[in-house]
Amino acid sequence: FLQVSSREVPAMASLFANSAAMYNPLTPAGADMGPSGFGGSSRAAADPTPNTRTQHPIMTGTGVLALKFKGGVMLAADTLVSYGSTALYRDQRRITPVGDNTVIGASGDISDFQRIKTLINELNTFDESYDDGCRMTPRDIHQYLGRVMYNRRNKFNPLWNQLIVAGFRDGKSFLGSVDLIGTMFEDDVMATGFGNYMSLPLLRKAGTELSKEEAQKVMEDCLRVDYTRNCRASDRIQIATITESGIDISEPYQISSYWEYEGFKNTNFRGPRSF
């Protein structure tokens, strides 16, 4: 189960022990306490307030995949939000549209993604309300998110996400990635999280000259593979397509899966050995 971090427990204990919550340089934390034991307990005494910076993601989404095809760009994700190893929320949206030609898909901490959605929607609202014929391009959004993530990382309080920004504007596809430490890059084919291991080689093999229907099939196949091997993935997926005519985010639907492989059924498949 989701472990209550042992870091938090001693901090909570010392909250009661130590009345001063503010740091006083004249009496650094722990200075007015007697000689403490070796190691752990002194660290607890030196940290009266709990660490409120993100240290690990709690509610998480698994990898997102993205691919440029002929005439647009496609992004796919499942709709599962996990609480550790519990598949808790089975119909959540991890893909969000921004304006008329961009979508953002996120893996990682979902509460941080909700924060990002708030920021991006605010940005988009301001952009729309200028009403001057200029609108943010997908690249502008990508750069903005990169700056946000990098600045958070520098404060040691990251938004624990890997984001993919996909868009189509002025006849050109755009695909960019930003992660929790602010790494930004663009590519024709992209995946986050487990998708990097399971799906990226398959996407690369498919190439970027597919038709929309072919691309959709490739996405489903990749997510199927991911679902088969990734404990945190589900078979209920969403696919977002951005083309000249705008954004189309599908309703979630179930993909088929096959579990009758010999290797799954028979654990002695590879010889007399049990897992």
Partner: protein, 250 residues
């Protein structure tokens, strides 16, 4: 009649519903030497007449590059103009830092206008005494805007500000319908011809004129003296006067 009673500070209205201090600030713009801004489908051009206080001094720069896609021509208090252009340059850089793309022209012009407006509603600050002609290109094409000390801004196909600019305005009013489809060279010719009308003795040359050209596919270029002289000579006719040989001005 009552003008002198209600013009002491910018926070006082006159009975006619005017704020005289702001109007006085706009007078300062009319005292500066002329600037012309024109725009076609593909380019925006700024020209300005530079003044020098005497033969020993340099000519006051009138056109400032704000970013690769934007420049301003000023008329009025140069110090105020430098303050605003510093603000505009910083805003351009900050926008580039976050979005890695050039700031849309109208948005920056609108921010400058807001900055000017603050000073028309404050007891502790005076209005800016400079008018800006902003020429820039963004994803919606080329634009020419005019920022007024009152905090208002307008977009123009052709505009002129500064001393004796009425003569230039007359020329622009007669010819502006040709600007939309004009080539760059024709556009500069129009802008220079309009500017010539404002110069004393129609005397324009490489030393006392500035030209800046920005296009959808070309970054802002502030012409150097040789470049300006070439454009002036291309005007032909009685416009061309040789740069005075004894002037140490730059």
């Amino acid at each position: 009649m009552f003008r002198n009673q209600y013009d002491t500070d910018v926070t006082t209205w006159s009975p006619q519903g005017r704020i005289h201090q702001v109007e006085y600030a706009m007078e300062a713009v009319k005292q500066g030497s002329a600037c012309v801004g024109v725009r076609s489908k593909t380019h925006a051009v700024l020209t300005a007449l530079k003044r020098s206080t005497n033969d020993m001094s340099s000519y006051q720069e009138k056109i400032f590059k704000v970013d690769d896609h934007m420049g301003i021509a000023i008329s009025g208090l140069t110090a105020d103009a430098r303050s605003l252009s510093k603000f505009m340059r910083t805003e351009c850089l900050e926008h580039k830092y976050v979005y890695e793309s050039p700031v849309p022209v109208q948005r920056l012009v609108s921010d400058v206008a807001d900055k000017c407006q603050v000073c028309t509603q404050s007891a502790s600050a005076r209005p800016f005494g400079v008018g800006l002609l902003v020429a820039g290109c963004d994803q919606t094409g080329p634009h020419v805007f005019y920022n007024c000390p009152s905090g208002a801004f307008f977009e123009y196909k052709a505009m002129t500000i500064g001393a004796r600019s009425q003569a230039a305005k007359t020329y622009l009013e007669r010819h502006y319908t040709a600007f939309e489809d004009a080539s760059v060279e024709e556009l500069v010719k129009h802008a220079l011809t309009a500017l010539k009308e404002t110069a004393q003795n129609h005397d324009i040359n490489g030393k006392n004129v500035s030209i800046a050209i920005v296009g959808v596919d070309s970054p802002l270029k502030l012409e150097d003296q040789a470049g300006v002289q070439a454009y002036v000579e291309a005007l032909g006719g009685d416009a061309v006067a040789e740069a005075p040989a004894d002037a140490m001005a730059d």
